[in-house]
Amino acid sequence: MDPKMDSGFLLPNETLEDSYNVLAPILPEEVIGIMDQLLCYEMAWHTGYPLSQTLFTSVYIDKLLWPEPKTVEEAQFYRGDLPAGRRPGVLLEVLRAYCLALVKCCDFVIAKITGRDYFEEEDFCTHTYNRVLFVQVPLDVFLRELDAAVERMEDTDLEMSSSLRKAIISRLDFRRDFLRALDLDCPLEHLSNYWPPILSNLTSIFTTQQLGKTVPGSFSTKIQRRLASTVPPRPIVELEFKDAFEKLKQLCIDCEEATRFTSLEPDPLEYQSFLLVFASRAPTPLPYSRSYLATLLFHPQILNATSSLPLTDVRTLVLPCSTILSPANWSFSPPRNPLLPKPPRLQLALLVDEFIERTGQPYLDFWTALGQNTCRLRRMLTHVIGGWDQLQTDASIVDADLMRVVTEMGMRDEVMDSPLTVWVYQKKLWMIEKCVLLGFEQDIYLPDEYGGMYHFLSLISGRRKVVLEAISAHFVTRARQLQHADQLPEAADVEDGAQHIASLISEADGVSSLGAALASFYTVLLYLKVLPRPARPFSSQELRFELRMKPFLALQPPEVPPFKDWLDKVQPYGPYELPSPSFLADVQNADSQLWSNMDANIKRAKEAFSAVMKIGATNAKCGGVKEAWARDVKGVLASCVALGIAVAGVRSRVARSGGGIKMEVEMGVQGLGIGIEIPLMGTAKRYAEGWVVAKVVKG
């Protein structure tokens, strides 16, 4: 018998039922011990383990929930009538109130998480094994139970030390506040009031934890056998109190942060920034917190706050102050006679409506992805990009119609070429960049792939920059037209809007330049043989390129570069083992194009990101997350500096090598006497998670 596999078997003399007596009187210390243990299991459940291995191992909770009680009154640690003398004492009643509220908390949590996109098992287990977690019972019933329990605890007839009394009361208080905050019906306006009281009470729970006394018998794996499930019983998940406590604290902090969402400018681009910053919080937010935020995002009050999110987005990016989006267009009614042509403005409104409706799903998919854990975000984005690629094709059809109508109206020069296509394309390119950057963040790429992937990133952001420059030119034209027409406030609006485009251009420029600099730096390191390069007998560079480009192969545009072109870029001097002689000449010459391009790109990246910083958070549409935004921009700037240092380190080392360099390079790390340290993810050694800058050390 394999005890790991056959955990369902009973050992000799083992009984199926637990012998623990839930009606036996317990000490105040034990109440604390049990409550804290329950908290540990509750948090273990929050991190993704099933109830069967966590909370449902509690004999007390089991008794409350099974056999299924018809009413809350029936949910006791016993069923039916008990003789007066055997009724549970005050402390058991207090524990019961706590447990009831805890179960209701679980009910709220499951409802919140299942109400949004989540992934069973990966994120969270919603299985309740046919136990009903008081779904139908309203919140106030539990609040009353908790209040009554606090009253019982405050009764001076109840003899116990004041520290124990306080410790138990603070746990009941916590449970009440927590339950309230988890309530599904909290009004949006007051959301931010719910979390701070919990956080301020947490310390008192933490500091009194040592008063508790554990009651191991009150938890049992045996209960799993009675839960409807196909998997064999698995061990109880033990999360230490201090870890559980940290998780709880993190959950409260994250949820409190999420409530700030409700006070953001009603602007989809601000929402997007907020979601991205939230997803990359460290430690990564628990599934509940992510669902909490997603619920806010999809709350009707938020979704209906602006006209339509995609429409606002389109206006901001490509149609500033445009007749195409003029509200008046929507006030025309079709001619009575369907054979007569529709008024042009009505045609515009219909075309825009058609496009916005077409945008709905891809737009929603994008937002859904932003609400996932970052591993999944990266994977989902690759699919979302495919959806946007199709959207782009459809956008071009609508664009053609729009152009026809505005030409008829004699307003062709007020509109940029193919605005909707441009809008989709810009976003799609951004998503591709994000995918690659997330790949770096998650250590998907190995060091010898860095050069190629940063090159690809640079290529894509370079494309985005070109697109944005066309948009920017349009903003300039549009502002001038409005000035000439004496529509000065409108002209000023367009000029304001141009600031956002300017921020995007600088950012794309920065990404492209830093990407290019890193690509060439890592390429040099490969030729110098100081980066590890696995032998890979079963693979080829072309196959690996295909694998890396897989998510993007079907896109048009941007077309993935042909392998040969890509190879020319990442192997400019031929094979790494056998570079052409010009490599040694270039690498030793501090003034060669090889080095001066690298320097120029680093300089340019620095200037670009400094410009982003200067244009500011609000213009970047990151006004709601300005601190995090500023930290990120500074991080990238620091990466530029670090790269400058690394480049200088390698260059000066190679320059000193003189005529012996050929041999030194043959010998790799030992030959050159330099080593390369790659800062891994999560080690806090990167200035920006997506920008991996190797450190040059003595080898």
Binding site: C375, L446, P534, R544, E546, M549
Partner: protein, 206 residues
């Protein structure tokens, strides 16, 4: 970096054998024992049988001179819903005392060769992000990390999906006919990942 810079002599003194269903009685218990020692996730006998009944010829074992099983690799190979003919390395283990001698490398190479010979487009597997030995072994052979899978294992650990393309054009293959996967909703890579095992519990975790 050379592929066999670790005492190859030692590794070669061993006997490498292909699994043989006729000898299940002698092979299977030893395989189970070897693997269950290293993997935290329980595998039922059905998981082993699932692989060995259908793809016994993709299972290779290493025996020492006293006929003790010291290493094993278990795989499968079948059409995947992405349209590729996909190999999957389900389990790999080498007895602790014999690690670092290239035994696992040799076993995996044999499995790859066998799958190649049977026209596989690609080979995939999952391994914990912290399993340095396993990552190093596969990456040296040519596998690439394609995905990070948050909380992939039942013990809550995160995994990398590793992929090795064997043929050009693999990335562009598309599902044919009824293998067409659903929309984007159920396209989550975890379905792909977990779809690789018969049951969700079939995950190779050390």
């Amino acid at each position: 970096m050379s592929e066999s810079n670790h005492a190859p002599l030692n590794a070669d003194a061993l006997q490498y054998v292909q699994y043989d269903g006729d000898k299940e009685e002698s092979y299977l218990p030893a395989i189970r024992q070897l693997i269950s020692k290293d993997l935290s996730e329980p595998y039922s006998i059905y998981v082993y049988r699932y692989f060995l009944y259908q793809w016994g010829d993709l299972c290779y074992m290493a025996y020492d001179s006293s006929s003790t099983l010291i290493g094993v690799v278990v795989c499968k190979l079948e059409p995947h819903r992405s349209g590729t003919f996909r190999g999957y390395i389900a389990m790999l283990a080498v007895q602790e005392a014999h690690r670092g001698k290239g035994i696992a490398t040799k076993l995996v190479c044999m499995a790859i060769d066998a799958m190649k010979a049977r026209d596989a487009d690609e080979i995939v597997l999952e391994t914990e992000v912290t399993n340095t030995a396993s990552l190093k072994l596969y990456e040296r052979l040519g596998f690439m990390r394609s995905k990070r899978l948050h909380r992939y294992y039942l013990n809550g650990n995160t995994a990398f999906r590793l992929v090795l393309y064997l043929k050009p054009g693999t990335a562009s293959k598309s599902p044919s006919g009824d293998m067409m996967g659903g929309g984007y909703g159920n396209m989550g890579p975890e379905t792909a990942a977990r779809g690789d095992g018969v049951m969700t519990d079939a995950r190779s975790s050390p």
